[in-house]
């Protein structure tokens, strides 16, 4: 069995051996157990269900909240020759969706966003198939205490029941013990086999620098990069900042290739920039959190946080993109006064306030009074309510929870005041909780004890022995850092004729090009 698994891994994925945790999880999955797997980002969680998909009869259903990640994986699998993979999400064209619906039985691996599972037709189709494994990726989304709570995830146990209890595999990169318990409770699977692996990586060194202004941060970055020209990601919390910083760093670092990436860019440009970075054509990428999901670049040596993300879990994930190859890498956090204002504003914009809740309830009430129970299309609804999609998702979940709504229909009239009061209280609590998460990370940055120990303490009892340097609190200095570097080269002269020949595989590209 063991041998066969290794052979299958090699045959289907080209990997020589399993990484930590993979074999243990896969063996339990193949035995039909319900499994909870906590493995750090980049450790290869996908293999834990993609390999079983090749080995089990029937189809593997994967619920994933990250549409872009899903598409990346589908793309990668398609690139390596798998035709029997499909990802259902809002980006799939209607035509393709219909075709796929009709041929659903032909797929071995079916990715679906949680929203897709709201559609009764889709679930019915699924229940006609033999689902041999039900995978919940990014399973921390199921918990109120997870950093990316997705109300849609709370209904998964109904789906599992409808599908007649296939074995369940829940996967996450970051989950505190509290969240782990919640995952198993929300899925109604109290007896999951648990495979929990520590998240700290021995090759990453931590440092926090306090500076006065944003321009000092830029100066600091360019000094670090001048001394250590390594593949680098720099995280920002706003699109504008990625562009501004990329321009300033390009000017300050003429020998390095610097670019920015954010969700507002043209799609074709996004692909080019992402792939240039993967392909070592770029040294430094200034990005928002939109970059990096599904990014698997081995030699990122330095992850800088120009702004901190709104919670520790995201920070650990982002830092975890450094040093996938196991070589010495650094996480550098740059702090300046008032850095907490932006995430605070963001959080307040994510959850509905009292006013907004009252407005939505008034709207629903007036519809019921007019005898109209169906809500308009989401776009139109959001437009007329002047409310963001995130806020609406929150509200809809709670309306449904209170039995006020079912599938875009208002069920009947209610004690509106009480419900308004209840939902307002929940929203206020969530806001408070999220603000506390922001503080947690700031608090971490100000600690005087070892950064590594303090960062991972909420998730695990011990941390591994660092293989290079530990952190600035334990005496690390940038001047002592000697990373392996492989900087890209900037080409000085450019000749399009030469370049075109090369791209289009026209003979020897070095040969003299005849003029004409």
């Amino acid at each position: 069995m063991t041998d066969n698994l290794n052979k299958a891994l090699e045959k289907y994925f080209g990997h020589q051996s399993f990484r930590e945790g993979q074999r243990e999880i896969i063996e339990d999955v193949l035995q039909g157990k319900d499994v909870l797997g906590i493995l750090p980002t980049g450790s290869g969680k996908s293999v834990c269900y993609q390999l079983p998909a090749r080995l089990m009869s029937g189809a593997v259903l994967v619920i994933s909240p990250l549409i872009s990640l899903m598409m990346d994986q589908e793309k990668q699998l398609a690139a390596s020759g798998y035709k029997d993979v499909i990802a259902f999400n809002s980006f799939l064209s209607v035509q393709k969706k219909q075709d796929a619906f009709r041929n659903l039985a032909a797929y071995k691996l079916i990715y679906a966003s949680p929203e897709m599972l709201q559609r009764k037709g889709f679930v019915k189709k699924l229940s006609e198939l033999r689902i041999s494994l039900f995978v919940v990726d990014e399973a921390h989304c199921i918990s109120q205490w997870g950093h990316e709570f997705r109300p849609d995830y709370l209904k998964l146990h109904h789906i599992i029941e409808t599908l007649q209890h296939p074995p369940v595999l829940a996967l996450s990169a970051t989950a505190t013990p509290e969240v782990q318990k919640d995952i198993s409770f929300q899925l109604r699977k109290p007896a999951m086999a648990r495979h929990i692996y520590p998240m700290d990586r021995e090759n990453i060194t931590f440092q926090v620098d306090e500076l006065e202004t944003p321009s000092e941060k830029i100066k600091r970055i360019s000094n670090v990069l001048k001394a250590h020209p390594v593949p680098t990601m720099i995280y920002f919390s706003s699109r504008n900042w990625t562009e501004k910083a990329a321009a300033e760093l390009s000017a300050a670092l003429p020998d390095m290739n610097v670019a920015f990436y954010h969700g507002g860019m043209e799609q074709s440009d996004r692909i080019l920039i992402q792939q240039q970075f993967m392909n070592d054509q770029l040294d430094v990428i200034c990005c928002t959190s939109a970059f990096g999901m599904g990014i698997d670049k081995q030699n990122i040596r330095l992850v800088i946080h120009f702004h901190l993300p709104p919670q520790i879990e995201s920070f650990i994930q982002e830092v975890g993109r450094a040093g996938r190859d196991g070589l010495s890498s650094v996480s550098l956090v740059l702090l300046s006064p008032n850095d907490d204002l932006l995430p605070r504003k963001l959080i307040q914009s994510e959850l509905p306030g009292r006013e907004e809740i009252a407005r939505v309830i008034r709207y629903m009430k007036s519809r019921v009074q007019q005898g109209v129970f169906r809500l308009p299309e989401q776009d139109i609804l959001l437009e007329s309510l002047q409310i963001s999609e995130t806020k609406w998702r929150f509200l809809r979940y709670h309306f449904e929870n209170h039995g006020m709504m079912d599938n875009d229909r208002i069920v009947s009239s209610f004690d509106w005041e009480t419900i308004q009061e209840k939902i307002s209280r929940v929203a206020a609590e969530r806001t408070k909780y999220k603000l506390a998460k922001v503080n947690e990370l700031l608090w971490w940055a100000e600690q005087t004890e070892c950064r590594r120990k303090a960062l991972f303490a909420p998730f695990q009892d011990t941390t591994k022995e660092p293989s290079y340097h530990c952190c600035d609190r334990c005496g690390f200095k940038f001047s002592e850092w000697a990373p392996v570097t492989k900087a890209t080269r900037k080409s000085e002269s450019y000749n399009w004729k030469q370049a075109l020949k090369q791209i289009m595989l026209q003979g020897d590209s070095d040969e003299e090009i005849k003029s004409g």
Binding site: M71, K75, Q76, A79, S80, G81, S93, K96, A247, S250, A259, F260, M265, E266, Q267, S268, D269, I271, L272, I273, Q275, Q276, M278, N279, Q281, Y494, W496, K497, A499, L500, K501, Q502, I503, M504, L505, Q506, G516
Partner: protein, 353 residues
């Protein structure tokens, strides 16, 4: 580049429209007002060449032109000053403006490029033995097309690359060096990803929208080259096929078109519709722009088409009077305008032979 496009547009609008009309044109607003403006004022070329530009950025450019005294206001309408006209005429990019073919190539230009660049990337990688690469396009429509194309092409990838190279090279040589650089720098190949538009704009120190319209210019010229230049381009043409569609007609022109299709001639149509001859001529022009199968030879002989076409190309001008004189007044304005229309509408090669 975009500033002279704005100037050219406003000068052609002759203060009959506000600058907002130019904005709608550039971003490709599909309203009948914008489409009619495009036809009436001969601005179809600029339709949709600056998609995604926000109104604020546009207004700033207009204000900038005003502060340079290239534009001035009469009431709420901007007009091009003498200084502005001379700036426009003497601008090094002025000669390029006639290559734009926005209304016809709207959407097609980008889809054509995505097909072409995806194929080049795919062929180069497969030829080099790399079957695992991330495609430069994730547009479903393009990927679907590529799947079909690839199935038929996979045994002659090198041959197709050679042919594409052979067809692209003469075109790129015609372009200014910088434009050819830009085109090639954006291409991806084996283990090499091209530069993004944003990177290219920064590299050449260009304003974002200047680059946007310049980039469209290159693509439009390439499509013009494929569709009506005399150089044979059978391989490139497979990448544009099916993309270049019919253009909208105004209602009045459509009525004229119906009558033409019933076999009526211009004189009869004038009588039936109680229109002036010049109006029906305008309709003919509009139809010629819009329909690839417009029977040009009913109005201009094949030899004349060639002669007029050469003269337009040589003069790099759209000034009718100048062209007419250069042809010794042997052809009417209608004939010249029709050739121009068909020429710029991207008539398929060979139709006029």
């Amino acid at each position: 580049m975009i500033t002279i496009i704005i100037l050219d547009s406003l000068s052609k609008l002759k203060q009959e429209r506000t600058s907002a009309a130019v904005y709608h044109l550039l971003v490709g607003k599909r309203s009948s007002q914008t489409l009619q403006d495009a036809h009436i004022y001969h601005l179809t070329g600029y339709f949709g060449i600056a998609k995604g530009m926000d109104k604020h950025a546009f207004d700033q450019k207009v204000e900038n032109l005003v502060s340079k005294h290239y534009l001035a206001y009469r009431g709420d309408k901007a007009f091009v000053t003498e200084k502005g006209m001379s700036f426009l005429k003497n601008n090094e990019n002025h000669g390029f403006l006639l290559h734009y073919n926005g209304l016809v190539y709207d959407r097609a230009a980008d889809l054509f490029y995505e097909r072409l660049s995806l194929f080049i990337q795919t062929a180069a990688n497969i030829k080099r033995g790399n079957h695992r690469f991330i495609p430069v396009s994730d547009n479903q429509e393009v990927l679907l097309w590529m799947k079909k194309y690839y199935t038929a092409a996979r045994h002659r990838l090198q041959e197709l690359l050679d042919q594409l190279y052979g067809e692209m090279l003469p075109f790129l040589k015609r372009l200014p060096e910088q434009h050819a650089d830009i085109f090639v720098k954006r291409l991806s190949g084996y283990s090499h990803f091209g530069m993004s538009k944003v990177q290219l704009a920064a590299f050449y120190d260009m304003d974002k929208y200047d680059f946007t319209v310049l980039y469209q210019l290159i693509l439009h010229r390439m499509l013009n080259y494929i569709i009506y230049d005399s150089t044979p381009t059978p391989t490139l043409a497979t990448f544009s096929s099916g993309l270049v569609k019919e253009v909208f007609l105004t209602d009045s022109a459509r009525k004229t078109d119906d009558l033409l299709k019933q076999g009526r001639n211009v004189e009869e149509i004038c009588k039936i519709r109680r229109l002036k001859e010049s109006t029906v001529h305008d309709h003919l022009i509009e139809i010629a722009y819009a329909q690839p199968d417009f029977p040009l030879n009913n109005y201009v002989s094949p030899d004349a088409v060639r002669e007029i076409g050469e003269q337009i190309e040589r003069l790099k001008s759209r000034k009718l009077k100048q062209i007419k004189q250069a042809l010794d007044d042997r052809y009417s304005y209608l004939q010249i305008r029709l050739v121009m229309a068909v020429y710029r509408a991207g008539r398929r090669k060979g139709v006029e032979q």
